[in-house]
Symmetry: C2
Subunit: 407 residues, 2 copies
């Protein structure tokens, strides 16, 4: 990839300013045209023209409310966006989650279904994902909403063409998921994008919840594996081929336990959810590998709450390994906050103290370079939320839907 100069022209300026107004209303609604002009530095005539355009596109609407203030009463504006929806699907080794939101960010639906990603060529997986997407688009169409985009999050390395290069947790290799899914959905009119699940979860954290807007944040996924989505200086860190944030096979100890990837002492082998379950609940794996993590994680949590010493020790050690792995991230990327996601969310009370201690001890900068650890407010399914948010982010960035729907 090469970076270069791009000229600014007036069409760009208008698109940029439409997005500026839209973002302002998202953050400050209800607000008047005069408020927008005052806050953005745009002149009032320009704001009026931009607002008219956004109302035509049904992205804003007037509420008819007036502010209680001196002078003429002003018409207040709020986000509309009801006619538009975006869909996100998270593919995990044990379940599929679909989320749809409207342009205002209001959740329209959240469905989960059991899924066994592992095994097979991926053909069955494509059918299952397409069936779920069809059910969601059908429901949204019945509500009179147009779908702006579908984004699918996968735990693995996804290239720019939507091919999953490798997903150890799902057992996939070079699966052209984007192309296969578009075909299964009969070449839909909306955009279908495949991305890494941790990247999408990080976008969700950046957009909503307690750390929204934090310029440097990390979301750590915890399912069959461990992944990181990194927001650096307000933008998703992707790297040359889009493979950034691969933390699961960071080597913590060259003499550590064997990892299914063939290496030794990987973060996943030491601190992953399957490793924790194997250690704490040996009976769970008697009939082969665990394929549904949720009930087993719930058992671990119940025993921790009862004060089971062996379980508490295992959780402390898991936290210590996590802190060790996160120190590499803190040293290299210097985040302001790292959010433990997936199945780590419910285990966080027992993981965090040891993880914080190890992180601080192994980071060169004082106070872990300012990196705080916390449980994500998004649980499993965070990538579905982020997938839906991705299409909204495109709108915020200025790629506005052009034609309003017939109501």
């Amino acid at each position: 990839m090469q970076t270069g100069a791009e000229p600014a022209d007036l069409a760009d300026v208008r698109a940029t300013n439409l997005a500026v107004v839209l973002r302002h209303v998202r953050a400050h609604a209800p607000c008047s045209r005069a408020d927008i002009a005052a806050s953005t530095g745009l002149n009032k005539a320009t704001v009026s023209s931009l607002v008219a355009d956004l109302i035509d596109r049904r992205l804003l609407r007037e509420t008819g409310l007036t502010e209680n203030r001196i002078g003429r009463p002003a018409t207040m504006l709020v986000l509309d966006g009801g006619p538009y929806a975006a869909i996100g699907i998270e593919v995990a080794a044990d379940q599929l989650t679909v989320v749809a939101v409207d342009l205002g960010g209001t959740e329209l639906l959240t469905w989960r279904r059991a899924f066994t990603g592992h095994g097979g060529t991926g053909t069955r997986a494509v059918s299952a994902i397409a069936a779920l997407a069809n059910r969601a688009t059908g429901r949204l169409a019945a509500q009179g909403r147009a779908v702006l985009g579908l984004t699918v999050g996968v735990p693995g390395l996804v290239d720019g063409a939507g091919t999953v290069r490798t997903s150890p947790g799902l057992g996939w290799r070079d699966l052209p998921l984007g192309a296969d899914l578009r075909r299964a959905l009969r070449e839909p009119s909306f955009e279908v994008v495949i991305d890494n699940d941790a990247n999408l979860a990080a976008l969700a954290e950046h957009r909503q919840g307690p750390y929204a807007g934090t310029a440097n944040l990390v979301h750590l996924t915890a399912g069959a594996g461990i992944g990181a989505g990194v927001i650096a200086d307000g933008r998703l860190l992707r790297g040359g081929r889009g493979f950034a944030g691969e933390i699961g096979h960071l080597c913590l100890d060259p003499r550590g336990p064997a990892c299914p990837c063939g290496r030794r002492g990987c973060l996943e082998a030491l601190a992953g959810v399957p490793a924790l379950i194997r250690r704490v609940l040996p009976d769970a794996t008697q009939d082969g590998p665990v394929t549904d993590f949720a009930p087993e994680v719930e058992r671990v949590r119940a025993r921790a709450r009862q004060g089971d010493r062996m379980v508490l020790e295992a959780l402390t050690e898991t936290g210590r390994h996590l802190g060790h792995g996160l120190a590499a991230l803190a040293n290299l990327v210097n985040p302001e906050v790292v959010l433990l996601g997936g199945y780590f969310v419910t285990l966080a009370p027992w993981l965090l103290p040891a993880a914080e201690g190890e992180l601080a001890a192994r980071t060169v900068a004082p106070e872990a370079g300012g990196a705080r650890l916390a449980a994500s407010a998004l649980g499993p399914g965070a990538a579905a939320v982020g997938g839906a948010a991705r299409a909204l982010a495109m709108v915020d960035a200025g790629r506005l839907p052009s034609a309003p729907l017939a109501g």
Copy 2:
């Protein structure tokens, strides 16, 4: 830090477009106004007005040459920038390097002087750096050039206020270098900026040489310690407090050798230049730690060229540890190229094969995620080159000097 919306207005558009024209001429000079219009998409009247402005500021000049082509001959433009200069200083544990360049990127001077950074409170170091800066500005003033900025690169964690929070290699802690240096230079009219040395070296690699323009690149410094400067998606990766790129104390082996930082098995302890010298040249450290690395590295290189088996084995092992450390970077940041800098440059022929093998084996993505390893074209002093380039980058980004000098 929070990210937010910024409105585009016409003054911004003009500043942006001035910078677009300037960057175009930098890349394609000599070129005509018509060439610029064709390549940038700006209309010809706008280009003429922008070029007139840049000629007034003495950033461009007409060469009087005409292109050999059909139609009217065109006046060709080249960068001027002769009246302006930028200065970079690299502070290493064993030497200071100062570089000055003009706006066209032509090197005006490069001086090195021996320096013992370690020991003391930093007061002597500030005097030595100020003396070197004064000599350089004096020389440039005598040539009729105005200094646009002075940037000082330091191996350590530098905060946004120009305070060196910690530099193990120099033995500094919470040294307000920026403020002290401005005082020692009697509050100069130009900007004085302190930054991490690896960051500046990465900016230099991004701007010039064989990998210029590569959107995702890493420069690895190797002096008293090891540091990384990371360009991600065309921008320097800084992180929340500006501490990103700290790779020297990445733990490769929790049971590895003790590191002066108090931890075990750090990359520096296993693959740093001082560790290599201690291992290969035990006589060099008989009278205490080595304070001038250059002659010792030259001795290591000479013995490697003679085929000394012990030295070759030590270099292979150093390369292997480097590859191990760089795999963490490749997994987390996914660079397209990693450039070995500092004293690694001359040792690269012996380090690279083992480093490449280890990097590929430990990176999850195939082919190390596309990351190539190579020796930097910049040796020790890269941060001085990058420091000078930083002020030029500000001009390219649209912060143009306003008043031309009296010739």
